[in-house]
Assembly symmetry: C2
Homo-oligomer: 285 residues x 2
């Protein structure tokens, strides 16, 4: 086996592909794992997707995404549905993007109940976890808390650092609540290597994409193919390895140019860049 056998395609990287096309693409390019998105799975059908990935011999490295726990209703029903879906797909984890300030939609629109009380929003996340963890544990689903870059704190995730994610996860067994280490979100953090070491087997997912400078007008799309931005993947990947993580490494890129490019070309580039920037310091699967 080679390190490439830990590569996973997060399907948002080839966003215009359906689940079937993405699965076929993985098989064609010998990529052994896929990170699925709920919207795409719903379109193809949950049971049909489970069968499709199993028949293709792919691992499901993650399901994206639950979360948005900071709003008025905390979204618990939708999160329970997401947990059920992750169980049906045999996903290694359900990624949780916890949500921004109460009453603020992704993109910044303010709705009823908008509040600037960040500490309260963060407390709501901890509170929602107490409701969701037992449900997920019963179904064998590992929740994965994803800290997002601080520029998304207000409208997407009040969870901004790995330290904060680990503090939230700490009350629970590592098999029930893990964390996502995403290079785009965390590369700048002076504490990131210390916290990756602290995380140890809390690491449920390792996601890679580069940080582009300057950012595009829509900052959500500021991710790039590894090598196109400013991140030193070696130190982060070596840290994740040293922490003991041996799971799949997902490439998740939100980028307007990559979304309009030929997905087969994207997958070829992704494999080449993965080999050049990431897999040099990982053990084979």
């Amino acid at each position: 086996m080679t390190a490439i056998e830990r590569l996973s395609l997060n399907q948002w990287t080839t966003r215009r592909w359906s689940v079937r096309e993405a699965v076929d693409g993985c098989v064609r390019h010998e990529i052994p794992a896929i990170g699925l998105w709920r919207e795409a799975v719903a379109e193809h059908g949950l049971a049909e997707t489970a069968t499709l990935v199993t028949d293709a011999g792919l691992r499901v490295s993650s399901l994206c995404r639950g979360g948005f726990l900071t709003g008025p209703d905390r979204g618990l029903d939708d999160n329970r549905a997401a947990i059920d879906e992750a169980a049906a797909l045999g996903a290694a984890c359900l990624v949780l993007v916890v949500g921004g300030l109460p009453g603020m939609a992704p993109g910044g629109a303010r709705g009823p109940g908008f509040s600037r009380d960040l500490a309260d929003a963060r407390a709501r996340v901890a509170d929602a976890l107490t409701a969701l963890v037992p449900y997920a544990a019963e179904r064998g689903v590992r929740l994965a808390l994803e800290p997002l870059h601080p520029m998304y704190c207000a409208d997407r995730a009040v969870l901004s650092t790995l330290a904060q994610a680990l503090d939230l996860a700490e009350p629970y067994p590592t098999a029930q609540v893990g964390v996502v280490v995403d290079t785009f979100h965390l590369w700048w953090d002076p504490e990131v290597l210390t916290q990756i070491e602290r995380a140890g087997d809390r690491i449920a997912s390792y996601q890679v994409s580069d940080f582009l400078v300057p950012l595009p007008a829509d900052t959500l799309l500021g991710r790039g193919m590894m090598g196109d931005g400013v991140i030193d993947f070696h130190s982060l990947t070596a840290g994740v390895e040293a922490a003991g993580y041996r799971g799949d490494i997902e490439v998740e890129i939100f980028n307007a140019d990559i979304w309009t490019a030929d997905p087969d070309h994207v997958l070829s580039t992704m494999k080449r860049r993965f080999a050049r920037y990431v897999s040099g310091c990982v053990e084979s699967g």
Copy 2:
């Protein structure tokens, strides 16, 4: 005295005003302090500016800015010049924006020697401080390390959190090396209140502006007038007060709309918003 007597206009907020116009504006609006920028001071003349602000009875709450210590030559000569200027102006501190990755210009252009080695860039800052602090101390100038929002880590400042700034400052007396607490840069940090408390009399400058969501296409201009964005100024200001800071509170806003607005209108709004969002929890000067 009222809390408004701790208000300072950072002159970049009314960027198209010359030093003379900004000083006149402060006098006209009864704003007792000003944060000056080196470019504007050079245009008016250093000695002339010192005389102008003294005659107007204004305090110089800061001089912006030295720094950019991570490049090939570490910019030491230019920083010594900035220190001399801060001394001549009697500025309360010289703000240091430490610089991004080596070989990357503000805005992201890559030059010779571009490196992704963030740890090395951060070490360069510590190294440059050892050269600059004695020079500043001899001239009675307090250096103020400013952590910038993590979205600027690559191209403007590898100093991203207050904790990191305090670690850098720690080897030096508080009178020689302080830190800047800027709401725009730090509001998201789960550790910010703890670190403000830790900072105590390290706080050399407190700067306020709001964080806009969504950010504009040029993320550098994502600051807004207090109340227009997502920041809860009360908790941050109360923390800075509890830490013992009794200096001026500067309003520093980079914003295309504010820069094109009538500066007198900007100052009126600024005073009103300062009273509404900030000064309610500060002691009078």
